[in-house]
């Protein structure tokens, strides 16, 4: 009997073809009409060190990468040593027996695949190892290799010889595991007309930024955010935008603020270390009320930390980072698909409220390859900032005028009569330096209260399961939503009254909405991937809810199974 989804894990030394095999299988699965969800870990070094690529593919949508491995492909001994204990009881193993020793008791479900020799002999080069592996995997899950072959032909369109060799290697790999065919058969995908896309979180954000109308991107490379800079560098010119790699993150954000001041929709993207360096300018943007979008693809911290691992430990800094009290909006998308829409919202909030917006993702979400519904760009709304042109009467123009909604019209260079001085010094309505108690209190109130709509109704928060669960209420943020929603479904099926609430905007915090959601629950559980339980402290400070913090600090994302276990543990208390 076939299964709805299968979890494949490829492991070996970085540089050996593990990552490319994973990419091939993911792209082929997507092309074949399957849904995918992936997770990878690689060393912080360029060459060497253990790396792993997990592909979960399913005939129905898969929201997490899965915990127990159905098919483990070992490129070297270390791969087995590191991963054997993640194997599902009925899990199958493929390995290169010239490099790997598999214990007796696993032999019956393990098949040697002569990756190296076949790659060299048939594939014509060691680099064809990935093809041999892919072929063997396809056989075991009885996955029709046509999409793979199409992709090969595409890639080597002008190198027929190479293409043929690769395809030969692919088939040879398949032959190796032929007798395991069907062992992990996956349902054929439901034939659908809908055009889906395969994207990472970073890519979805970059594409979403273009949809939102980004004009300027200034950034500095850093793992795992670099490819936002790189993708936009290639694409922005064709929509009239500009991208520049700056000398550091301070210059990156500074240039964005200059660009935004001049009327451009501006964005930068970084990871923790860069966000730390942006602290002073972040406060400036809040004070001078300049729109800007800052993507923080979180990685393991603190400091340089674990550059290629995932963690949700920048929440505090996103909310409170920087001296003094500067307003900002913090958005945490919950999936690759949500990354697209969160990017659109980020620009819209930044422009409407004239405030810096931090888009908080993490390594797992940023690099995860998900098949998602193609974003319908006709649904994208673009909110524009209020400028001098929107004023009926621009006599005695005041850049920081007190208004009903606390938002004032910006003068944009080029607009006659809009001249003002943007400044980080406390200032009056005209932007003139002013330090009286009255001015300071009034301006802080203006800068903070303009964000109130984000607490009340404007934001669609993410929920799954019961709206007001009686047994278990789960509150989380960002990338943990995938596994949590799967766990919620399972727990509900097991008869629990359970629900999850994911504030899509964490700052300003929707305290009342969260309190209502959790009001009836016996257990309120806050899972997050960090050490100090930052979200749990935030929820407690904002709502006073009596909750259980289940923070984990190991650089790995939660799985649905983890969440399921956590809930049962807490219920058992």
């Amino acid at each position: 009997m076939a299964r709805k989804s299968v979890v494949i894990r490829l492991a070996g030394e970085s540089g050996e073809g593990v990552i490319s095999s994973g990419d091939i299988l993911t792209q082929a699965a997507a092309r074949g009409g399957y849904w995918t969800n992936t997770f990878r870990t690689f060393p912080a070094e360029i060459k060497g060190g253990p790396c792993m690529y997990q592909v979960r593919m399913g005939s129905e949508r898969v929201f997490s990468h899965g915990k127990w491995v159905d098919l483990l492909v070992c490129f070297n001994q270390e791969a087995w040593d590191l991963h054997w204990d993640s194997l599902h009881p009925d899990g199958v193993i493929l390995y290169d027996d010239t490099a790997v020793e598999i214990p007796e008791e696993y032999r019956d479900r393990a098949r040697p695949v002569r990756m190296e020799s076949l790659a060299k002999e048939i594939g014509g080069s060691l680099r064809a190892k990935n093809m041999v592996a892919a072929g063997a995997v396809a056989a075991v899950i009885s996955f029709d290799t046509t999409p793979i072959e199409e992709l090969v032909l595409r890639r080597y369109a002008h190198k027929q010889g190479v293409a043929d060799a690769n395809i030969a290697a692919l088939r040879a790999g398949g032959a190796e595991a032929a007798d395991l065919a069907d062992r992990l058969r996956v349902d054929a995908p439901v034939e659908i007309e809908e055009d889906r896309v395969l994207m990472s979180g970073n890519q979805a954000i970059a594409v979403g930024a273009v949809a939102a109308g980004v004009d300027y991107f200034g950034g500095y490379p850093i793992t795992p955010a670099s490819d936002i800079l790189e993708w936009l560098s290639a694409k922005l010119p064709s929509v009239g935008g500009k991208t520049i790699q700056c000398e550091d993150e301070i210059a990156s954000l500074a240039s964005c603020l200059g660009a935004s001041y001049a009327g451009a929709k501006a964005m930068t993207a970084t990871s923790g270390p860069g966000l730390s360096l942006m602290s002073e300018l972040l406060g400036f943007a809040g004070m001078a009320e300049i729109p800007v979008v800052i993507v923080d693809a979180q990685r393991g911290g603190p400091s340089t930390g674990l550059p290629t691992k995932t963690e949700q430990s920048d929440l505090n800094h996103a909310l409170y980072g920087g001296h003094g009290e500067a307003p900002r909006v913090v958005i945490a998308p919950v999936s690759v698909e949500d990354c697209f829409w969160a990017a659109v919202d980020a620009f819209n909030y930044a422009e409407r409220f004239q405030v810096p917006v931090i888009l908080l993702t993490d390594q797992g979400l940023a690099t995860r390859m998900e098949v998602i519904h193609r974003p319908d760009t006709s649904q994208v709304e673009r909110w524009e900032r209020r400028t001098l042109a929107d004023l009926d009467d621009d006599a005695d123009y005041r850049r920081y005028a007190y208004t009903d909604d606390h938002v004032s019209a910006m003068g944009i260079p080029g607009q006659a009569g809009g001249q003002y001085v943007a400044t980080g010094i406390e200032h009056d309505e005209w932007g003139h330096p002013g330090y009286t108690p009255e001015i300071h209190l009034a301006m802080q109130t203006k800068r903070w209260e303009k964000l109130d709509p984000l607490k009340n109704g404007l934001v669609r928060h993410v929920t799954h399961g019961e709206e007001q669960p009686a047994d278990v209420a789960i509150i989380g943020f960002g990338s943990t939503f995938g596994p949590v929603r799967e766990a919620v479904d399972r727990l509900a099926a097991e008869g629990l009254s359970v629900g999850a609430f994911y504030p899509r905007v964490l700052g300003p915090f929707p305290a009342e909405t969260v309190a209502q959601f959790a009001a009836k629950a016996k257990h309120v559980i806050v899972p997050e991937v960090n050490y100090t339980g930052q979200l749990a402290r935030l929820v407690r400070a904002e709502t006073g809810i009596d909750l259980v913090s289940r923070a984990k600090c190991d650089g790995l994302p939660f799985t649905a199974e983890d969440i399921h276990d956590i809930v049962n543990e807490e219920m058992a208390r």
């Binding site: 490319s20 092309r31 595409r154 395969l198 500074a254 451009a264 260079p413 001249q419």
Partner: protein, 293 residues
């Protein structure tokens, strides 16, 4: 709204409604006066002109000018000015600030603005001291100078700002002085009209904490008429020689960063968001082997 639409305005018309808060006699008054005149001489439209500064006494300058202004953070005027210029190349962008702002905390941005040759002007009011924080030594303070944080005398050799600018790739490098407003006005005009990154180091005495006014008036000379401003080595040689010579030290014509972006925009073939999303289509699929992220 292009700078083409010129408007005739007197220097006074470039004054804002705020009075400078500098100490009476501060060199910055002379620099500001020169700037007013230069703006008027160039007939720049205040609505199409942006003055960006950092933090310091000198960095208060934008508040006193009727153009657009950006009074930013200590050390950050250059990357901000770059962002303004790239976002709207039609604008005339002038960055201003102090020697501490530009060469202490801001030193890391200077070489990059210079080598990129972004078409902006950087006017530094160099008083060889931290004025606003009450007189500590700056990177241009002389060796041995006694100041609050160097009570036994400054132990550091001052930075040669002109030599530093030339080595960094600035395409226009000049020195002026607040007490010589006619010449300074001219230098500012030439700097702003220069296509590329132009740097003007204006001596501007801090009469409160480091008053070199008289000494400087005595000792400054003009750049020798036979100095070849296009000869980089000669320019550096002149820059590192002792004493202050006023005038243009180096000038070079190089494509500006904003020009290069214009070329790129022209070369790039237009595309749409939907075409971009097509590239991710699951059916069509990305090119195999190409790492996906």
């Amino acid at each position: 709204m292009s700078t083409a639409e010129k408007t005739k305005l007197s220097p006074n018309a470039y004054k804002s409604d705020l009075k400078p808060i500098w100490c009476p006699g501060c060199g910055d008054f002379g620099v500001l006066a020169s700037l007013y005149r230069a703006l008027s001489e160039m007939e720049l439209d205040p609505a199409n002109t942006v003055i960006v500064s950092g933090i310091g006494c000198s960095s208060r300058l934008p508040h006193f000018v009727s153009t657009y202004g950006f009074h930013s953070l200590h050390g950050r005027p250059l990357p901000i000015a770059m962002g303004v210029k790239l976002a709207n190349p039609e604008l005339t962008v002038i960055a201003v600030g102090g020697d501490g702002d530009g060469f202490a905390i801001g030193a890391g941005h200077f070489p990059h603005a210079a080598r990129r040759n972004i078409d902006i002007t950087y006017l530094v009011m160099d008083n060889e001291i931290y004025g606003l924080t009450k007189g500590q030594a700056s990177p241009t303070s002389s060796f041995g100078q006694k100041a609050p944080s160097t009570p036994y005398g400054n132990m550091e050799e001052p930075l040669n700002t002109l030599g530093f600018a030339i080595a960094s790739g600035a395409s226009f490098v000049a020195r002026g002085a607040s007490f010589n407003t006619k010449a300074l006005t001219e230098l500012i005009v030439q700097a702003v009209e220069h296509k590329g990154f132009s740097f003007v180091d204006a001596l501007s005495p801090c009469i409160m904490f480091n008053n070199h006014q008289e000494e400087w008036k005595q000792t400054v000379t003009d750049v020798a008429p036979d100095h070849d401003v296009t000869d980089k080595a000669a320019a550096f040689d002149l820059a590192i020689r002792g004493g202050f010579s006023l005038g243009i030290v180096y000038k070079e014509l190089r494509r500006t960063l904003d020009d290069k972006y214009r070329d790129l925009a022209e070369r790039a073939k237009a595309s749409t968001i939907d075409e971009m999303i097509d590239a991710f289509s699951a059916r069509k699929g990305a090119a195999i082997g190409k790492p996906i992220t």
